[in-house]
Amino acid sequence: MIDLKLIEECRSGNFNNFRKLVELSSPFAYSVAFRMLGDEAHAKDIVQETMITIWQKLKKIKTAEGYKVWMYRIVVNKCYDEMRKKKRAPEFITDDKTWEILTNKISEGPSAALENGETTRIIEILTNKLSTKQKAVFVLYDLEGMSNDEISEITGIGKSAVKANLYHARKSISEKIEKYI
Amino acid sequence: MKNKLSKLVLFSVLIFCVSCNDPETTVTNILHTDGSITRIIEMKSMEGDSLKRFRIADIQVPIDNTWKIKDSVATDKKGDKTWFRRAEKLFKNVDEINNAYKADSGINKKSVRIAGFKRKFKWFNTEYYFSERVEKIFTYGYPVHDFLNSEELNYFYSPESLKGQKEAGPDSLKYKALSDSVKNKTDLWTYRNLVSEWIGEFTKLTEGTAGNDMPPAYLKSREKDITDIFKANQKNIDSLWANGTLLRKFIGEENASKYKVQADTAVDIVTKKFTLDFREYSLKIVMPGKLIGTNGFIDSSKVLLWPVKSDYFFTEPYEMWAESKTPNTWAWIVSGFFLVFVLTGVTMRIIKKG
């Protein structure tokens, strides 16, 4: 994804190179933020804040791999802060239309794809009852395709805790899927 | 006549021994943290003749003209004079004291005395260990603790002033009885040591020549019998030894005639060792910092005190030691800062994480 050479160039204070870094990194950061928060505007804000923090602490990055984990860690932590600020969600009301959309998309087969708004609603109904950590683990593992080790480094929780959170998240989501689809 | 002669002899010995103890000497070692020692010798004498007073040959510890010396005199109501001498010297380390002991030309020159010093850095504290040790006289003797119980041992090693206090105090009867018990047992101890030493020296002299006549274990096994014979014949021991009676009782007729020379030589060796010239004195130590251990007596000014008497190193080395500690302030500060630093970092991390 990111070249260490590019990072080195950014360290020298070159805004142009940093712009390039932002353009390369932001889609990945946006994907995680959007799936966590379910809101475009908030997700974009998170990405901006993340990039500013990266600029301020560029000296800490030693390797390209290190950059990736570090970037995701900042995104996830900022999402946690945002999620805490949100008022407690009202008791979930079954959204039949969303389930209908999901059922239809599944029956369309492998070519089906969701729009951003649909993704938001589906993730929201599936993860409504999960804790922030469970949600983060589910998004990073099942949706973003990261490994246990990477998730452990990003979230700061142990590998066995990652597994436990993932298990509970999947169980909750499976139950809902079973009930409504 | 007999009575008067005996009394005179007794008191002559007493006087002799009183003047044996002239000058009355106290040695104070003030230890410094760098291992140097300020040694102060305080002497008291009733000797009227100024040429004989504080003669180097009569002094219990090494002293020479490199010391700072100060003299004074006090006269009591009866007109008797007492002379005082105070000598002080700074020794850079214990090696200098040990060299002085080796070069000693005083009355106690034949005793082997060694001073030792150790300093241990233990981060929060530095510990100091100082000792003065007198090597034993007898080779084949028994330790006194084989004869005395712990209370008696404590009494045995006590300074005279403490014994006097106890015997004049509210438990005077108890301490007088204790004193008698210690006296009886140390008498027995002395006899056993004399016999044991004689047996040891005699065995050494006859080794190789004695063959099957007197295996070393044989004499050793008869030690108690020999001691009893010795004690029972106190009154005329000289004549009984001279005519060979005692020796025949010890080792049998045949051996007595064969090994008379070696037996006499062994007696001479033992007598020479036993009558080692030693004039007693007191030793004091002042340690740096706080005292944490000692085998001495602590006086009212927290100075450590030991009497130094030949009895104490008769059959075992006599070690007078003290240990103290001083805090390493800088180490405490550094450790404190380190702990605060780590605690702050960890707390900040917990807060940030939370």
Partner: protein, 181 residues
């Protein structure tokens, strides 16, 4: 009826495929650069100093090592002080001597020499000794005093036959070395 796992996998697969798209990464880049340019350089010395001093906290092995070292230091301190306090406590029970008391009592040195004299019959090689007139007077007075006391004692014993018998019996029984006075 599809099995549970299969439904879950289908839903997750659908969500994974439908990656949220960031429509304008350049926009974000511009906004970030604009903000960075507008920001005044931070002159928060305290913050940078804190970061400098405590950055080790985020390095796992350094943090664990320092915590272990702190614990070891505390344990060593407690142990050392405990040992010292115990020794000082033991020391406080040790005998205190009033060496200033001018108690005169026969020195044991004299006792030992007497024993030596009695047992070996040898005296030391002759030496010249001198005593003062005062000492001589004291000596003669104590001899006189002893003689008077001895006579009194003899008189008491002679006047009481029972006492005399008891004393004679005791003297015969005791295995003592007596100096004939």
């Amino acid at each position: 009826m599809k099995p549970e796992n299969e439904k879950f996998n289908e839903v997750v697969g659908l969500l994974r495929k439908s990656r949220p798209l960031l429509d304008s990464p350049e926009d974000i880049g511009n906004k970030v650069i604009r903000r960075l340019r507008a920001e005044k350089p931070k002159t928060d010395v305290l913050s940078s100093l804190t970061d400098f001093l405590f950055s080790w906290v985020y390095i796992g092995w350094v943090r664990r090592t320092l915590i272990a070292a702190s614990c070891a230091l505390v344990i060593v301190f407690i142990y050392q002080q405990g040992v010292i306090l115990k020794r000082i406590d033991t020391l406080s029970k040790q005998t205190i001597v009033n060496d200033k008391a001018n108690i005169k009592s026969p020195s044991e040195e004299i006792e030992r020499l007497l024993t030596g004299y009695r047992s070996s019959g040898h005296l030391f090689s002759s030496r010249n000794i001198t005593i003062s007139e005062g000492q001589m007077k004291d000596l003669l007075e104590s001899v006189k005093d002893l003689q008077i006391k001895y006579k009194d004692l003899e008189k008491i014993i002679d006047e009481d036959p029972d006492l005399k018998k008891m004393i004679e019996k005791k003297l015969m029984g005791i295995d003592h070395i007596k100096t004939n006075l």
